[in-house]
């Protein structure tokens, strides 16, 4: 089943407004998604009916807040098919989830001379923490290259796994620039055969694709709730045995079992990794966002976006001088990036803004990837459940205006 995007759009209050008298066309969901009414209501309902700190109070409000917070955790676990709810840790965002893995697992498991493998298409948040770990531990950082077609060059992986030095492979499940959806089953199979732990950056995949961490056979996966229509909160999933063996990342209240003057012991999972008061209402509202997506059906979300991206790639490729980045639609998620030799992305975004169209201009936190393609920056239109082909038509019309104004 797919939908036109219009009925779904109705459920997002922010999209009902006009910019310069024009319909607001939001094509920057890869940066952050807009929120459906049910999420806004969930946030407001927590604060107006049952807000209190969790895991602490004996009174009814606190118990209800705790119950709802834990129910949200269970929704996430089900959404990504985690083997158990206590494998899900609330964090601020995907970035924090990845840093948690690097600090806690990485520092105790990656040693001098060992190898960390990442890819050339990573977002800075799944690259810079690993760079730091490599420097800190005197480990080696190796890259799976990206082909000209925007896919991972998997021929490069077996040699990186062959000498037994590789400890971890960290990669994105969907590129936020190229849209590339790598062949994860194959990659994880190869990595595990070499005893390598696989850390997935699910920031783009979890909002847009059905994700099942068990059938993927992954070890860790981080994602951001704000990119799937929830508030500013994220989650890290990890295999129980790995999480259980890891030292805490942050120390303080809630993450302890007992505290003496000189030393303490750690709480059980997942609380060991949730020091301090978490984003309670945000967690509960993330649960509402997941309900919203579950009702649409993640397979339907993918089909809807596949249709949008197929149309967008075809229409954009007809714009004179426009170069598309990334693979064909079947392997391409909701992010569509492009560039012109003669027109700067900032100018494109500024002129499109006059038309009520929101796109992203720049390097999208992926500088090495832009360097790989030899371009200083790109423009990105990214799609979600509320977009329709009309949005692409408006984008293409806007690009023709840009060309008329700026091309000589």
């Amino acid at each position: 089943m797919t939908w036109s995007g219009k009925e779904v759009r109705q459920q997002f209050p922010i999209l009902q407004q006009k910019i310069n008298g024009k319909r607001l066309i939001y094509l920057d969901s890869a940066a952050s998604a807009q929120k459906p009414q049910v999420v806004i209501d969930a946030l407001s309902s927590v604060y107006s009916t049952n807000y209190a700190n969790i895991h602490r109070g004996i009174y009814r409000l606190a118990e209800e807040a705790t119950r709802q917070y834990e129910a949200a955790r269970a929704k996430i676990a089900k959404f990504i098919n985690a083997a158990s709810t206590d494998e899900v840790i609330f964090v601020r965002n995907a970035t924090e989830g990845l840093n948690l893995v690097v600090y806690s697992w990485g520092r105790s498991n990656v040693g001098a001379g060992e190898r960390i493998i990442v890819t050339e298409l990573e977002h800075h948040s799944n690259l810079v923490p690993w760079q730091w770990l490599a420097q800190e531990q005197d480990a080696e950082l190796s890259f799976i290259p990206v082909t000209g077609a925007g896919e991972l060059d998997l021929a490069a992986l077996p040699p990186l796994l062959a000498d037994g030095r590789a400890k971890v492979l960290a990669l994105s499940m969907m590129s936020n620039v190229l849209g590339t959806i790598p062949d994860l089953a194959e990659i994880i199979h190869l990595a595990h055969a070499a005893g390598v732990v696989v850390v997935l950056d699910g920031a783009q995949a979890v909002p847009h694709l059905p994700v099942d961490v068990q059938s993927l056979d992954a070890d860790f996966m981080a994602f951001s709730g704000h990119k799937l229509g929830g508030p500013g909160i994220g989650a890290l999933w990890g295999r129980r045995a790995l999480l259980a063996a890891m030292p805490p990342f942050l120390f303080g209240g809630d993450m302890i079992l007992s505290v003496r003057k000189e030393r303490s012991t750690w709480n059980e999972l997942p609380y060991k990794f949730e020091a301090g008061t978490p984003a309670i209402a945000e967690a509960i509202a993330l649960g509402a966002a997941i309900d919203f997506l579950t009702e649409l059906g993640m397979e339907n979300v993918r089909q809807h976006e596949l249709q949008l991206v197929t149309y967008a790639l075809a229409e954009l490729s007809a714009v004179p001088g426009l170069h598309l980045l990334g693979p064909a639609a079947e392997k391409h998620g909701g992010a569509v990036a492009f560039w012109f030799e003669d027109i700067h992305p900032h100018d494109i975004a500024a002129i499109l803004d006059e038309e009520g169209i929101c796109v992203r201009a720049g390097q999208h936190c992926a500088a090495p990837l832009h360097r790989r393609f030899g371009i200083p920056a790109s423009t990105r239109a990214s799609y979600y459940v509320y977009n329709s082909n009309e949005d692409t038509d408006a984008l293409v019309a806007g690009l023709h205006k840009v060309i008329k104004l700026l091309r000589r």
Partner: protein, 125 residues
Amino acid sequence: MSNLYREELLEHYHDPLNYGVIEDAEVDINRDNPTCGDTIHLTARLDEDDRIAEVKFEGQGCVVSMAAASLLTAEVVGKSPEEIAALGLRDIEELLGGMRLSMGRVKCALLALTALQKGLEEAGR
């Protein structure tokens, strides 16, 4: 923005003043804006009173950064390093025709000016 893309600024963008490199210049600096990938290579010559005699630039960027660089190269001739150090966003906005730039474009507008200021500093002026 309509203001930003008016003909006069587009002229500077398509056909900038003082585009190029001064060989063996006292000031010779490369700067970039990591968020949008804009780059500038700016060179400047000083006269015997240590005032700017000539500035040239080359680089890649949007209309705002290119037009601001073009206008700046003409504006600063005859100014002392102290006068240049005192220039700021407001002055660039004036040069661009008196508009107020949105937050996202401020770095673009200041790319050439900060390059010149840093370049003078590095040259010990």
